[in-house]
């Protein structure tokens, strides 16, 4: 027995020594929960089922992309462990899943959780826990609020930035126009409308002839279009989701109303909006874009697009390549990898936010030429540039320069 004790003592002494040595050796390495020498745990919440399940593709693309990163050796030797849960787009479920990720799975951060109501539900929790809620997948403007929510950061150009860009264009080229605005009666529609009015500034009251809203539950918006035509407006700002956007384009042609038509980029998809509405009805519509439309023939031999296709062939062959969400997921996943690489061996939550707020002129593959990701301690809107596009023939043509308009929440 005594021998046993001695051996145990020696063993524990060795352990203590080893522990001391390893801390000395890894003095440069700093970790928070969820990161180690071999692994980085990333949480994610997506609506894989429920009303918004079409967006679940984003989570699947990200998972595929991280598989690619891991197959290529990981990030500074660490593999990404991507844990993604379904919240069915229901905020209470989002809270449950976020708590599960943070408290039970112990992830380092939650990345690209989708939807405005779900993200609103967990924003306070994430900030009180000081766990990064990084690159949320929503276009709402309120995510750019580093003062009140230093642990939450947006990603894509937000709705207000986009409508400010249209407003600037109108003020410059059509200063005497009469504008009709149709918007969906929810946070998304109202966010766009606010940006548009802010962009027009003092002239908003005199230029906007009518602002009309519709409910998502309405079967058709035909009557709204007729009403707007009657005001004699010569510019139409169309803030609608894909189904309604196609209806509006069709109805415009039917009743012979030909205003200068601005279409929000939510509905700029050729496959789901323009084609069903008819190419001949959609000529000269103006919209905006920040990443390459994979269905657009002009990118066929583009280097980024070839890389994208190779990635999909190898890691996500069943993806629908006409789906813009696949491109979206591909780009934002590169954003996370960029931040994690920049963190080096200091994988603390604080450093993650510090690096995420210090992205300079980063160009993930898939963005339009000239568009770059930029953040700073006071700018939590990584993408804030867009390029105007005009529909010609059967595809969008880019025109003018890259435009930007940073706004905060």
């Amino acid at each position: 027995m005594p021998a046993m004790h001695v051996r145990l003592g020696a063993f524990s002494a060795a352990l203590v020594l080893a522990a001391a040595l390893s801390t000395a050796a890894s003095a440069q390495k700093k970790y928070d929960t969820g990161a180690s020498d071999t692994e980085i745990k990333i949480g994610n919440i997506m609506p894989y089922s429920g009303p918004a399940s079409a967006y679940g593709v984003i989570g699947k693309t990200e998972e595929a992309y991280f598989r690619k990163i891991n197959a290529e050796g990981g990030i500074n030797g660490r593999k990404i462990n991507f844990i993604t849960y379904d919240d069915t787009y229901s905020p209470p479920k989002t809270v449950e899943q976020a708590r599960k990720l943070v408290e039970s799975d112990e992830v380092l951060l939650i990345f690209n959780s989708l939807g405005t109501p779900p993200n609103t539900a967990i924003q306070k929790y994430m900030n009180s826990k000081k766990v990064p809620q990084l690159f949320v997948a929503t276009g709402a403007t309120k995510w750019n609020d580093p003062q009140n929510f230093p642990w939450t950061m947006g990603w894509q150009p937000n709705y207000q930035i986009e409508s400010i860009i249209y407003a600037k264009y109108i003020l410059k080229n059509h200063p005497n126009a009469k504008i009709a605005v149709l918007y969906q009666n929810d946070d998304y529609g109202k966010d766009y409308l606010k940006g548009f009015k802010d962009g027009l500034g003092a002239k908003a009251a005199s230029m906007i002839a009518i602002e009309d809203s519709y409910e998502v539950s309405e079967p058709t918006i035909d009557s709204h279009i007729v009403k707007m035509k009657a005001t004699g407006a010569d510019i139409f700002f169309n803030i609608t989701t894909p189904k309604f956007a196609a209806q509006a384009i069709k109805k415009n042609a039917e009743i012979g109303w030909k205003p200068l038509h601005f279409l929000n980029n939510v509905s700029a998809s050729i496959g789901s909006v323009i084609k069903p509405a008819g190419f001949e009805n959609a000529q000269d519509i103006i919209s905006s874009q920040y990443f390459k439309d994979p269905t657009d023939a002009q990118w066929k031999n583009d280097k980024a697009m070839i890389g994208w296709n190779e990635f999909l062939d190898k890691y996500y062959p069943e993806a629908n390549r006409a789906d813009a969400s696949v491109m979206y997921g591909y780009i934002v996943a590169q954003g996370l990898v960029h931040v994690l690489k920049a963190c080096g061996d200091n994988l603390t939550r604080e450093n993650i936010m510090k690096q995420a707020a210090n992205i300079k002129e980063f160009e993930p593959a898939g963005l339009l030429p000239g568009i770059k990701v930029n953040t700073s301690a006071s700018d939590f809107a990584p993408l804030s540039q867009l390029q105007l596009i005009r529909f010609k023939g059967e595809h969008w043509e880019r025109f003018g320069e890259i435009l930007s308009g940073d706004v905060g929440g």
Binding site: Y48, S49, G50, T84, Y85, D86, T88, Y89, S90, P91, P92, V95, E96, R99, K100, V102, E103, S104, T116, P117, T120, A121, Q123, K124, Y125, N185, D186, D187, E215, S217
Partner: protein
Amino acid sequence: MSAAEEVVAEGHQAVEAVPKRAMTLGTGTSLVVLAALLVVPMFVKNFIIFQMTMLLIYGLAVLALNILTGGSGQFSLGQSAFYAVGAYTSAVLMEHANVNYALTIPISAAICFGFGYLFGKPALRLSGVYLALATFALATAMPQLLKLNFLEHWTGGVQGLVVTKPDAPFGLPMSQDMWLYYFTLAVTIAIYIFSVNLLRSRSGRAFMAIRDNEIAASSMGVNVALYKTLAFGVSAGITGVAGSLGAIAVQFVAPDSYTITLAISLFLGMVVGGVGWLPGSFVGAAFIIFVPNMAESISKGLSGAVFGVLLFLVIYLVPHGARQVAVLGQQLVGKLRKN
């Protein structure tokens, strides 16, 4: 109508032998469960405590539906609407009027009781599946009503309202989650005891008489109209309390949280737990909280299908839900004792 009544009647037959005790657990079992509920949170992570809190909250909501369906034989697919009213009542009072969270709960109960009672009045003329449809309409309408422009100042519209989580009072050394759990547990126990007593009382017997045979009940002098609306009111009131607690626990209310899916989940919880068996409500709540997570871990893309298969298995193997399992267990214990 017939389909609905069949289910209730079928459920009823299994409990006929012991009508008074059939709706509850024995004293010994109740005490063991209570002790477990009191002790377990001290040894688990905050996340588990949160899940247990949600279990109690959904359990309350299922219990409310159980009183309505298992007790008085009426069907409702509109429980999510009452849940939403309760949640919003608490959220609005707490965030706009700075009312203490504990005080908002009786207020929610009262408002929802009134709402349910008033809704029950016209709905009285309907029975069985027709009533289920009328309440279904209520559930589909509710999220849209919450988005209405003139209410937006109070409800926050689609953006919803963020609710502040209460700290433990009197400086108790407890995390917010743990305090909220014990608070919810206290409310749950109070409501559970109230429900058991209600169903054993004169009113409860009237509910069950209506459930079993409306004409016979009325010819025995039961005021059918009064008791049917009363059952609706009580059920709505309890659902409202669950909604309030849910809003405080989740710290957020938004129209998207209270869609028809919630109503169907609660209904499902009731069936899985066993219609008319009150303790089963909490088993049902566990089913609707944990089984979707299990299904998701089996297959992400097919989580809905896996959930469907699991549900089908439960209904096929134990059509009377958790009650059947409990009865089987009891018989087994009885046999062992005899031996």
